[in-house]
């Protein structure tokens, strides 16, 4: 068995580690995956850290420090394909809330010696710094999409990942619309599918953790949410959460500032 195997690296920037953990949560597939892919670097899982170049790099986390701004260039240079995983890497994550505030003030709030803290004024997605070949959305990513991605890479094809809205998944799942049936505010119409529409299935509105879908119309949704009684301050917060830095959500939030 000397078939060439894909050399995979998993990198972490500012994040909670949850998207990397999704790989280790593939309990049924992990050992088979390790047969098909050489995990050359995955610090959370292995102390065996092999040097690049890598065929594929999975990148978790956002760019929030000067050091990481340099490091992502190095990762790009060593990687054939670079795929970002999760809301931090694709939209800046929850920590992108700083983009709308004064990070110097935040440093003083949290740290006794703010002058020694290396933190950029912004938390930005990987694609703002280097070329990204594919993005997997979600806070966290879906395990199913992650496996589809890896299977596609092994087969040398493009991953089959929907850019439709959560509404489509709700329909497929047979979940009655929580907004129509119960008047529950829901970001499903503007949020990209991928999670399996779990929130409506659990009687709650989607809170947008997969970020904006392709060609969303958040202004129309905001109108409906206003009719349901949501005030401007709440609308602002609704769009400013785990994908606050995604342009479609950031722009809509700004309209309610």
């Amino acid at each position: 068995m000397t078939a060439p195997r894909l050399r995979l690296a998993v990198w972490k920037f500012a994040s909670c580690d949850g998207c990397q953990l999704s790989l280790l949560d593939c309990e049924d597939e992990l050992l088979a995956l390790a047969e098909g892919v050489q995990i050359a670097l995955f610090a959370e899982a292995s102390s065996n850290m092999l040097p690049g170049p890598y065929d594929v790099s999975l990148v978790e986390g956002s760019i929030t420090t000067a050091h990481d701004r340099e490091r992502i260039q190095q990762v790009r240079a060593e990687s054939g394909l670079l795929v970002t995983i999760g809301a931090c890497a694709t939209a800046g994550g929850i920590q992108a809330l700083r983009n709308f505030r004064d990070v110097e003030e935040w440093k003083q709030l949290v740290y006794a010696r703010p002058e020694v803290i290396d933190a950029l004024a912004t938390s930005t997605p990987i694609a703002e710094h280097v070329k990204v070949d594919f993005e997997l959305r979600g806070c966290p990513v879906s395990k199913r999409q992650l496996l589809e991605l890896l299977a596609a890479l092994l087969a040398g094809r493009r991953p089959n990942v929907s850019t439709a809205s959560v509404c489509e998944e709700c329909k497929a799942r047979g979940t009655p619309c929580v907004m129509v049936a119960h008047g529950t505010p829901c970001l499903g119409p503007v949020t990209q599918a991928g999670c399996g529409a779990i929130c409506p299935a659990y009687n709650r509105g989607c809170y947008g953790c997969f970020g904006p879908k392709e060609t969303p119309n958040p202004a129309a949704l905001s109108e409906r949410l206003t009719e349901l009684g949501m005030d401007r301050a709440t609308l602002l917060r609704v769009y400013r959460s785990f994908n606050a830095g995604a342009p479609a959500f950031a722009d809509e939030a700004a309209r309610h500032e």
Binding site: G18, D25, E27, D28, A45, T64, P140
Partner: protein, 431 residues
């Protein structure tokens, strides 16, 4: 480098969550520095929570850590419910405990099999262990999956569950859905007992320390969601007294932010502490497993934490089975939570130890101040103390051996460095 000076660096600690490094400096056979260095980028959660609605705290703080989001969900709920004067009903409390069992299982099993066991067996990772011992790793993966199945059913998904809200849940499960887990939980309880036996037979360094253990203590149960804050040195406080007991210190020389007692004491959180303070609350099979593994009234060898974690996995499966069997569907998955401005305190037992949240909320329901102390932030000081005590008599050992043991010693605590709410140590030593 001057003669007789050795610097041992681990530039990127593997098999921990988050980014950390280790710096050891030995001069003339004397250890002058043993520092766990955190280079996880700060994410400013306590600052970004300001101005958010009090009901958002659970989902937002869950994002501090992808490995123990349930702990954040539960501590944030506890603090906000304390603020609003809400005590959840027994069926909701039971479901929360079941959810927490799921997280203890997936997190502990991940740590035992994939992060810590490779150290003791001499492999770089679990995948490499699986080449020689496939049945062992398969058992670990299946145990982990059983824990994740509980979290996914009650929480909607394994990582960052969506079904938790102040006052309870968005949706309570069907009895049939919980019972469907039963057969796997039965298998898992037996496998967890085998795990205790297996890890208790590992070779551990001969090393013990006298710790001040701190954990929650509940009148009936082994602690998870509620309890008083107790210590092995006689402290016994309500959670509202946390700030009087443990305070974060900013050390001028190292820029460390570390928690210590008012008198400067270093405390130890996590499985060893819970076990030492709550051994009498272990479930029957967990206690039998602990006895069979030769664990006494307390375990003071931190390297044996892997055994205590495995005992807690037995307990979590036993509890999960009890809660699944006792579950009856009920009408109100969440109690109404009416805002009452003020300060709320909450602490629960994350897999790595007590996780403390404190929030101040104004009359509009917006958070004006937040304090979050992750267990690893508290354990930082005890990890460094362990390193110093272990290293001092062993400095004659070659660098590679020292490095290996130090990494294992750090992993004893399953440190979760991603929990960088405000937890940072910078290495400012300059030659």
């Amino acid at each position: 480098m001057s003669e007789g000076t050795r610097t041992i660096e681990v530039n990127y600690l593997a098999r921990v969550e988050g980014e950390g490094a280790l710096h050891l400096r030995i001069e003339q056979d004397r250890l002058v520095a043993a520092q766990l260095r955190i280079f996880e980028p700060p994410r400013f959660f306590e600052a970004l929570l300001r101005g958010r609605d009090f009901r958002e705290a659970p989902d937002i703080t869950a994002r501090i850590c992808g490995i123990c989001p349930v702990a954040y969900l539960m501590s944030a709920c506890a603090a906000m419910e304390d603020l609003c004067g809400v005590e959840v009903s027994a069926p909701i409390a039971d479901l929360r405990r079941l959810l927490y069992c799921g997280e203890w299982i997936e997190s502990h099993v991940l740590h035992i099999f994939m992060l810590h066991l490779p150290d003791f067996m001499g492999y770089p990772d679990a995948v490499r262990i699986a080449r020689d011992h496939p049945e062992l790793v398969r058992m670990g993966l299946r145990l982990k999956k059983a824990g994740n199945a509980i979290v996914a059913l009650l929480g909607g998904r394994e990582i960052h569950p969506i079904n938790v809200r102040l006052g309870g849940f968005y949706r309570a499960p069907k009895r049939a859905d919980l019972l469907a887990l039963r057969a796997e939980l039965e298998w898992a309880l037996g496998a967890a007992e085998q795990t205790v036996a297996r890890v208790s037979a590992l070779a551990f360094p001969d090393f013990e320390r006298d710790y001040e253990f701190v954990a929650l203590r509940h009148p009936e149960h082994y602690p998870m969601n509620t309890g008083r804050l107790v210590s092995s040195r006689g402290v016994d406080l309500p959670v509202t007294g946390y700030d009087d007991y443990l305070q974060e210190h900013h050390e001028v020389h190292s820029t460390a932010l570390q928690s210590r007692t008012a008198s400067g004491g270093v405390v130890h959180l996590g499985p060893l502490a819970r076990y030492a303070l709550n051994r009498d609350r272990l479930t029957p099979r967990a206690r039998a497993a602990a006895d069979a593994a030769g664990l006494g009234a307390q375990v003071c060898n931190p390297f044996r934490s892997i055994v205590v974690r495995a005992v807690e996995v037995v307990l979590a499966f036993e509890e999960a089975l009890r809660l699944v069997d006792a579950y009856r569907e009920f009408d109100l998955p969440a109690l109404p939570v009416e805002l009452r401005p003020g300060v709320g305190y909450g602490a629960t037992e994350a897999p790595r130890g007590t996780l403390y949240h404190r929030y101040t909320v104004d009359q509009d329901g917006l958070i004006t101040d937040a304090k979050i102390v992750a267990p690893t932030a508290v354990n930082q000081a005890v990890i460094e103390a362990d390193l110093r005590h272990y290293l001092e008599p062993n400095l004659h050992l070659p660098d590679d051996t020292l490095r290996g043991v130090c990494e294992t010693a750090i992993r004893n605590y399953d440190p979760c460095i991603s929990c960088s709410a405000h937890f940072l140590k910078l290495d400012v030593e300059r030659d």
